[in-house]
């Protein structure tokens, strides 16, 4: 007889599962967490390598020498920007045309759902200027993008200046096989989103824009440049894109290879590489780099203008020039050579990037962890949920056993009705829906009744709904009678555990960092809570500590610790409020999925567990 159909063997298996359940769960958790921590240990990591044959090595001769020209463009641009008080569209058009590019402009406008206090904007109107360098002998079917944002104040002037100098240099070369688009976008992410939507002729975020007049074929790769000083000490690369999407690893390898060749110091997450991996400080260094990447990827916020390109299957990175207190500085010519080298190699591409990894973690620029290595960490955590669910299933199918374990006596009902199981679930999801829709919709009402600004109104409404959800269990039990049975809470817990497993599994597949952060916090508590009168307070506090909001708060705190800029509790709370408003704005402006996921799925799931704790 088979293993599961033989009743004796089955009983033995199930008794094994129930007896060893807690130790197994604890073991799985420890293995999962230590697996994740071990990923940052250098012997377990792979060295990065270039997978794309067409790009080859860095053997190309860079001849860019026009750093001075870049600086003069910078000064002109800064002057014009001050004069026009925004983006100097006419000057940019004139300059690009005189350099021989085909210049087009695109105007766009977008209304935010509520004013953005961080960037102080509400109704955004802007213009993007882009010049196309046509390949002298090539068909106009493919292109590469170099973009620099036009920011307020004195930021990123050098980026635009260098872009113009590079444009004039590239124009005199004959070896381009793809068109090159030089884009100067206004209002950073919103401008980039407007340009991309118009270029690809889609409308995802309700932006209004003028029709796109000039196109250059399918975009193969994009580079976004951010430079705010005439000289730099290092070049930082930002990878994480919208919803935690990452560019192809080959593009990062290309950047690193050319940094090595030109001698520029390159960093990731603002940290330099260290060689002492076998010491504790070395290990914590790479662990903190990896954790920073996990936190940034988990937030789903694009860390640069490149983040929005990734959605269209255009591999892109943002390169930031950093001017710190180091002694050795690199001038614009070197940065120009770096960009020239990268573009010449991108020019050799025959297809889009597809050879290297799309899912990876980078503890340093030369080491990476691929999806095959980091997924088991999550797998072990998900196993805890499955084990617990099995245990509950066994208990539910064998009522005598349940009575042995359970504290309550008597009340041996038949299995609880579907209504009593479905009611908490539906109510929790309705709360989630309220959390998703109400803050933005009811901001006007909130302003009338309370002396707060719109942003604060939205954020405070969200928090209010969140906290109000905590009071639900007491109310639902008044509505339903006779719902509080042993079997009732066990079935609800079984359903919730499986629901959480499915949710986290799907999230991890798309955005490993977000899934893992939620798993590490929620899974142990979700597995062990029980509605016993004695430990109700303890379980309640534990559950609150792992709620999505608290996880967000703790992540912000951890992030500031890791970038060595620690914050006090009050500042952390301010950052938390900003993060909530930014999350809602990201969702409405760029289609970020963090806020809907948390509001519509994770929060209701967590509320179900809250219901279990207060089960009567």
């Amino acid at each position: 007889m088979g293993l599961l159909s033989d009743p004796n063997r089955r009983r033995a298996l199930t008794s094994l599962v129930t007896r060893l359940n807690t130790p197994l769960c604890v073991l799985c958790y420890l293995v999962g967490v230590s697996w994740f921590m071990g990923l940052a240990f250098e012997p377990f990591m792979l060295r990065t390598y270039m997978s794309e044959n067409a790009m080859g090595s860095t053997m190309v001769e860079e001849k860019f020498v026009f750093g001075e020209r870049a600086i003069s463009y910078t000064r002109e641009f800064a002057g014009q920007k001050k004069k026009t008080g925004g983006m100097p569209v006419d000057w940019l058009v004139k300059t690009m045309k005189s350099r021989g590019l085909e210049v087009y402009t695109q105007s766009f406008s977008q209304t935010l759902p509520f004013p953005d206090e961080v960037k102080e904007r509400y109704m955004v109107r802007g213009t993007n200027v882009y010049g196309i360098l046509r390949a002298p002998r090539g068909p106009r079917t493919e292109s590469i993008v170099l973009s620099a944002p036009c920011s307020e104040g004195n930021n990123n002037n050098q980026a635009v200046g260098l872009l113009l100098a590079i444009a004039s240099y590239f124009r005199s070369q004959i070896y381009w096989a793809k068109d090159i688009i030089f884009l100067v976008n206004e209002h950073d992410l919103i401008g980039t989103e407007a340009w991309l939507e118009a270029y690809h002729d889609v409308n995802m975020t309700g932006l209004r824009s003028s029709p796109m007049q000039g196109r250059a074929g399918a975009i193969q790769a994009a580079l976004s440049l951010e430079l705010s000083s005439d000289v730099i000490t290092s070049m930082d690369v930002a990878l994480e894109g919208l919803n935690g999407q990452l560019p192809n690893l080959d593009l990062v390898n290309l950047f690193y290879a050319f940094c090595q060749k030109t001698g520029v110091l390159c960093t990731i997450q603002g940290k330099l590489q260290r060689n002492d991996w076998d010491t504790l400080p070395g290990y914590t260094h790479s662990l903190s780099t990896m954790l920073l990447m996990v936190l940034k990827q988990g937030s789903g916020h694009p860390q640069g203008d490149h983040g929005l390109f990734l959605r269209y299957h255009i591999e892109a990175v943002t390169m930031r020039g950093i001017n710190s207190f180091r002694q050795y500085k690199f001038d614009m010519t070197t940065v120009g050579k770096l960009i020239e080298g990268m573009f010449r190699k991108l020019n050799n591409l025959l297809e889009r990037f597809h050879q290297s990894y799309f899912f990876y973690l980078m503890p340093s620029l030369t080491r990476f962890v691929s999806i095959g290595y980091y997924m088991p960490a999550f797998g072990f955590l998900a196993l805890i949920l499955v084990l617990r669910a099995l245990d509950l299933w066994v208990q539910l199918s064998d009522p005598a056993r349940a009575l042995e374990d359970g504290v309550s006596e008597g009340e041996q009902d038949s299995s609880p009705s579907l209504l009593s199981l479905a009611t908490p679930v539906i109510i929790c999801h309705l709360t989630g829906l309220a959390l998703y829709f109400l803050p933005v919709l009811s901001q006007e009402m909130a302003i009338q009744h309370f002396p707060v600004s719109e942003t604060e109104a939205v954020v405070l409404t969200a928090i209010a709904i969140y906290v109000a959800g905590l009071a639900l269990p007491h109310n639902t039990h008044r509505v339903l009678s006779g719902a509080g049975t042993e079997r009732g809470w066990r079935s609800l817990k079984l359903f919730s555990l499986l629901y959480l497993a499915v949710l986290l599994g799907c999230t991890t597949l798309i955005n490993f960092s977000l899934g893992f952060i939620l798993a590490v916090t929620m899974i142990p508590v979700a597995a062990f809570i029980q509605p016993h009168r004695s430990s109700k307070v303890l379980h309640g506090v534990a559950l609150i500590l792992v709620s999505p909001a608290t996880t967000l708060l703790l992540s912000i705190y951890l992030y500031h610790e890791l970038i060595e800029y620690p914050v006090s509790l009050l500042e952390c709370w301010q950052h938390f409020l900003t993060a909530v408003s930014q999350g809602i704005l990201d969702h409405h402006l760029y289609g970020s999925l963090l806020y809907p996921l948390l509001a519509l799925f994770i929060y209701p799931c967590w509320l179900q567990f809250w219901n279990i704790v207060f089960w009567k």
């Binding site: 390598y49 270039m50 044959n53 067409a54 080859g56 090595s57 053997m59 190309v60 001769e61 390949a135 002298p136 002998r137 090539g138 070369q173 004959i174 070896y175 381009w176 096989a177 010449r344 190699k345 020019n347 050799n348 025959l350």
Partner: protein
């Protein structure tokens, strides 16, 4: 880095039928073939064109050369020096020049066309520049092996194979035809490496084995007495990194007595005689008869696919075709899925009319 790239290039060579680079040279008739596509395979075209130049210098005229290039490097958009192909950075030698005659280009370079050239199975409309006009007195040089050329069609006198590819020795291990000598740039399990990059163009220009081979050939002039033993020593392991190998057991003559110019050059023996030579009688009648035949034939329909299966039957009188294809590729690494597609098999039963026309084609043009 170069090795990694070449490993993947080698895998492409073995799995994709149309991406290996080979060259066949006939001593009096020569075929130059390069089937490497894409810009990063610039060096294969440079290899081919360099050897083409060397062989032309040693006396083989363009009318006896069939040149097949699968991709256009000279006019590639990425070439910073358009209309040129460089093989040697320091010498800055443009092997493309302005007197290159390419007979098969781009997508015309296929295995089918290559087999047609080797076996002479052309449709009557094929121009002479696309044919290999060899006979039983021609010496054939093959740069990368297409091992299954038997002598049953009296197509060659002696065969020299030179293979510049990864695991090259595996290509010549399977030969069994007589009068075949083979050289390879690497042994089984080794990779052949590229030689030098050019930073201005941004690609590798040559492969190591070919580079030293060509350096050797630069010293050969039409009256040179260098023999095959010198050719075997062309690229020692210290220069080539891989271990070149050779095979001489199928060759009847002693390699020491075989001159390089027997294969690489067009050396015509001159016999001085004082007696009159009787030419073939009735030559004018025969011409008229031929033209009559041409006029009287009914229009032939060109069958769509090459009757490779028919060749098999004519060569092996019923040998199983998969065996033939296996031999053709010479290495077991070729996936067994690579075989003649269905249309070829149907031509087998196409009828005797077609067979006869091909026979006639053979007797006429040779």
């Amino acid at each position: 880095m170069a090795a990694c790239r070449l490993v993947s290039w080698c895998l492409t060579v073995f799995t994709l039928l149309f991406l290996f680079c080979y060259r066949i040279t006939v001593a009096t008739d020569e075929i130059e073939v390069c089937t490497s596509r894409f810009w990063f395979n610039y060096r294969h075209v440079a290899n081919t064109l360099s050897v083409y130049r060397s062989v032309k210098r040693l006396g083989i005229p363009d009318s006896h050369i069939v040149l097949m290039l699968a991709d256009d490097m000279a006019c590639n958009h990425r070439n910073p020096k358009p209309a040129t192909v460089f093989s040697h950075k320091n010498m800055e030698l443009n092997v493309y020049g302005d007197d290159v005659e390419v007979d098969y280009r781009g997508y015309e370079v296929t295995v089918e066309n290559f087999l047609r050239v080797l076996t002479g199975r052309f449709p009557p409309s094929t121009p002479r520049s696309k044919r290999l006009l060899s006979d039983d007195r021609s010496n054939i040089l093959i740069y990368m092996t297409v091992p299954l050329i038997s002598n049953s069609f009296c197509r060659y006198n002696e065969l020299l194979f030179i293979i510049d590819t990864c695991q090259g020795a595996s290509m010549y291990e399977r030969f069994y035809s007589p009068n075949v000598m083979a050289l390879a740039s690497s042994q089984v399990g080794e990779d052949s490496l590229s030689h030098q990059p050019d930073l201005a163009i941004g690609v590798h220009l040559m492969d190591r084995y070919t580079f030293y081979l060509l350096e050797f050939l630069e010293d050969i002039h039409p009256a040179s007495q260098a023999n095959m033993n010198d050719l075997f020593k062309v690229c020692p392991k210290s220069l080539c990194v891989s271990t070149p190998g050779h095979r001489i057991d199928l060759f009847q003559r002693n390699p020491r007595s075989v001159l390089i110019t027997d294969f690489f050059g067009s050396v015509r023996k001159v016999e001085i005689t004082t007696e009159p030579v009787k030419l073939i009688p009735n030559i004018s009648e025969k011409d008229e008869k031929l033209t009559e035949e041409v006029m009287l034939t009914e229009p032939q329909k060109y069958v769509e696919q090459m009757p490779v299966a028919e060749i098999i039957h004519q060569i092996y009188f019923g040998t199983f075709e998969r065996y033939w294809i296996g031999k053709f590729h010479g290495v077991s690494r070729i996936s067994p899925e690579v075989r003649i597609s269905k249309p070829y098999q149907t031509i087998l039963f196409g009828g005797s009319v077609y067979k006869n026309s091909y026979r006639r084609g053979l007797s006429r043009g040779e």
